[in-house]
């Protein structure tokens, strides 16, 4: 799709303009689906794609951000520094999710790639310029995807759950729904691209409690095939 450009800031590759958005995997699912052909032509002109290598930052807390990002492939960890200098994982972005919904002088959180990832980005400046021709284009761009605000909502729901098992199983279920679990004979294989420590931090659990809970859930048969990067929810445990 692109010629690899020189490494730029934060380890992101320089933007490439996609030859065409027709090849976009997530277009029909969430991102640009609601745009008319004329609007779409505008948007296509202003957006570009960027590779973000694993562990590199897409956005850095406290630094300016001027673009709206949509994850096309891969996944990101959202985090923020608390006043004591320690990091809090606040959510995860997957294919079809948005970050940087408003332009800002100081981003409220950081977004780091959990794996080699691909994002499209739309400078807010251009989105505003085309707003005259295409009213509400930004709102409609993100109408189907999840943003950082949705992630905060998910987080408070999970943190409000009162047992470790509930928190962990709800988390797996949530990730399964957001990332799109693979269906194998009715069993759902849920990828977990984030390290266990990130999951523990996100759920407000100690690492040891997370491990113990995963073991207990497996022994109960509520999950199977627990590996470093995925777990499987068996067909008879798949919830609505």
């Amino acid at each position: 799709m692109s010629t690899q450009a020189q490494n730029k800031d934060q380890g992101c590759h320089a933007p490439d303009r996609p030859a065409t958005c027709d090849v976009c995997e997530v277009r029909g699912r969430s991102i640009c689906a609601d745009l008319g052909p004329r609007e779409f032509a505008h948007v296509e002109k202003t957006m570009a794609r960027r590779h973000v290598s694993r562990n590199k930052s897409l956005m850095i807390e406290g630094e300016p951000n001027e673009s709206l990002y949509v994850v096309v492939a891969g996944s990101f960890r959202l985090s923020k520094m608390l006043e004591d200098g320690r990091r809090q994982v606040t959510g995860f972005l997957f294919k079809g999710d948005f970050a940087g919904v408003r332009s800002t002088d100081a981003s409220a959180y950081s977004a780091e790639a959990l794996e080699d990832s691909l994002v499209c980005f739309f400078p807010h400046r251009y989105l505003e310029e085309i707003a005259a021709d295409a009213p509400g284009v930004k709102d409609r761009l993100i109408a189907r995807g999840q943003t950082e605000y949705h992630k905060a909502q998910d987080h408070i729901v999970l943190l409000g759950k009162k047992t470790a098992e509930e928190r962990v199983i709800s988390f797996i279920d949530l990730i399964g729904r957001q990332i799109g679990a693979d269906d194998k004979d009715g069993n759902r294989v849920v990828p977990l691209p984030m390290p266990r420590q990130d999951i523990a931090d996100y759920l407000g659990l100690r690492l040891e409690t997370l491990s113990r809970t995963l073991t207990a859930l497996r022994e109960d048969g509520r999950i199977t095939d627990v590996s470093r990067h995925s777990v499987t929810i068996p067909a008879d445990c798949v919830s609505a």
Binding site: D84, I156, G160, G204, R206
Partner: protein
């Protein structure tokens, strides 16, 4: 100490671990107020949790804490069950909001509890409030009650800050306060903590105790320095026999006179600074690489109910009898007696008995006093603007007197403590406090000595 400063020595001043102090709390703040403030805590707000364990094996005659001597361990288990229920109640009000970043176990004697019970409290915190491996866990230990394997198990639970109640190493002083613990015992406890990797170990010392002399306290300080704790707090003993009947067991005639108190305080300061400790606030010392020293050097020092701290959390949630919470501009203090505490918790109510809603004016005074105590200087413009002219004039007159005596100097609109006047910080704070009696008169003896 300059001679001009000696007249401030008899002064009694609040400790200012909160402003206003708990003496100003009343029944206007209820459990419903506390609950509604908990409901307004935001998602990622850092929380500092405090657990009060009010049991001790023996009575130390100097103690001013809310505690009771207990011999029946079943009563402690009952208390832990109540704490777990209280954690659950608070968790329901927070509903997922707030992130516990530090947890402090104080007392009384937290290690009156066996490690299993401490683990059960942490388990409740993890499920109701959230607990991660980066949450800082601190505990106060009585070296006489440390059981086999306690240190290893506390470290395994994640405790990385331990403070030992040392008070004084001199056997005669220890006998006079009914807290006899040998140097060997403390040395063994320190050795065990170091073996298990505890790298933030603190000693609490007291000056102003009966039978203390310059020579005996110098020996205590030398032994302290030899054991090389990461922090040392040197508190002045507050002798208030009228309020605390147990202190009547201490013979007044054995107490050091005011001039000696001051000498002991100065001695502690000189010896610890000479040994390489950094001054933190007016009564704490820390090795230069300790987080508390770094907070002091970088101007991030704060003051909470445990004293000076590097914990940046504004919101404090206290659990257990008599513990105090500060949430959304209110102080809420739990019922003090175990009977009242249990009766609230058993009714599935928060145990708030008293408290105070900070007024905008009190907020300004609190910030001014905090700056003075934590940074050694405070801009007093906001304070003077917030007060009525007569009060502002009185405060200026108080400060003039401190300036004449060289205790403070002006840096623009800021009051700064003069070099060496750190031990008088509380006296100067009192001069800024519109609730306290005018300087020059002795305030009511319900307050501790300022030095």
């Amino acid at each position: 100490m300059k001679d001009d400063w000696r007249k401030y020595l008899g002064l009694r001043a609040p400790r200012y671990t909160s402003y206003p102090s708990a003496l100003h709390f009343d029944a206007q703040v209820t459990d419903e107020d506390y609950a509604s403030r908990l409901g307004e805590v935001s998602l990622y707000e850092p929380l500092s949790l405090y657990f009060h364990i009010p049991f001790c094996k023996r009575l130390c005659w100097y103690c001013g804490c809310n505690m009771r001597v207990e011999n029946d361990y079943a009563r402690a288990v009952r208390y832990v069950d109540a704490l777990r229920r209280e954690v659950d109640l608070v968790g329901k009000k927070l509903n997922g909001a707030g992130r516990p970043r530090s947890i402090h176990f104080g007392g009384g004697t937290p290690n009156f509890l066996k490690v299993d019970e401490i683990g059960r409290i942490l388990e409740a915190v993890e499920l109701s409030l959230g607990l991660t491996d980066s949450t800082r866990l601190a505990i106060e230990l009585d070296p006489r009650l440390i059981r086999d394997n306690d240190i290893a198990r506390l470290v395994a639970l994640g405790f990385n800050r331990i403070s030992l109640g040392v008070q004084d190493f001199d056997p005669e002083v220890q006998a006079a306060i009914n807290r006899v613990q040998s140097f060997d015992l403390v040395e063994a406890a320190v050795g065990e903590m170091r073996r298990y990797g505890v790298d933030d170990l603190s000693f609490d010392l007291l000056y102003g105790l009966p039978k203390q002399t310059v020579a005996s306290f110098a020996a205590t300080l030398a032994k302290t320095i030899a054991l090389s704790p990461d922090r040392v707090a040197i508190f002045g003993y507050a002798h208030l026999p009228a309020q605390l009947p147990r202190q009547r067991l201490i013979d007044d005639a054995l107490l050091p006179p005011e001039a000696l108190r001051a000498d002991l305080s100065i001695l502690g300061d000189e010896m610890l600074v000479a040994a390489g400790y950094v001054r933190v606030g007016f009564d704490h010392y820390a090795k230069p690489d300790n987080p508390l020293a770094r907070a002091a050097i970088e101007g991030r020092l704060r003051r909470n109910f445990q004293g000076f701290t590097d914990d940046p959390a504004e919101t404090t949630i206290g659990f257990g009898a008599s513990s105090i919470s500060f949430v959304g501009e209110i102080y809420a203090q739990n019922a003090k007696t175990l009977a009242d505490y249990y009766s609230r918790i058993d009714q599935r109510r928060l145990a708030t008995e008293r408290g105070l809603l900070l007024s905008p004016r009190e907020r300004v005074v609190a910030a001014t006093i905090r700056d003075l105590l934590c940074r050694g200087r405070a801009d007093i413009r906001p304070l003077l603007r917030a007060l009525a002219p007569t009060e502002a004039n009185r405060i200026c007159a108080n400060l003039d007197r401190f300036e004449e005596d060289g205790v403070i100097c002006w840096e623009g609109d800021s009051v700064a403590l003069a070099p060496g006047a750190r031990t008088l910080a509380r006296a100067v704070a009192m001069a800024l406090d519109p609730y306290e009696a005018a300087i020059g008169r002795k305030a009511a003896p319900r307050l501790a000595h300022a030095v």
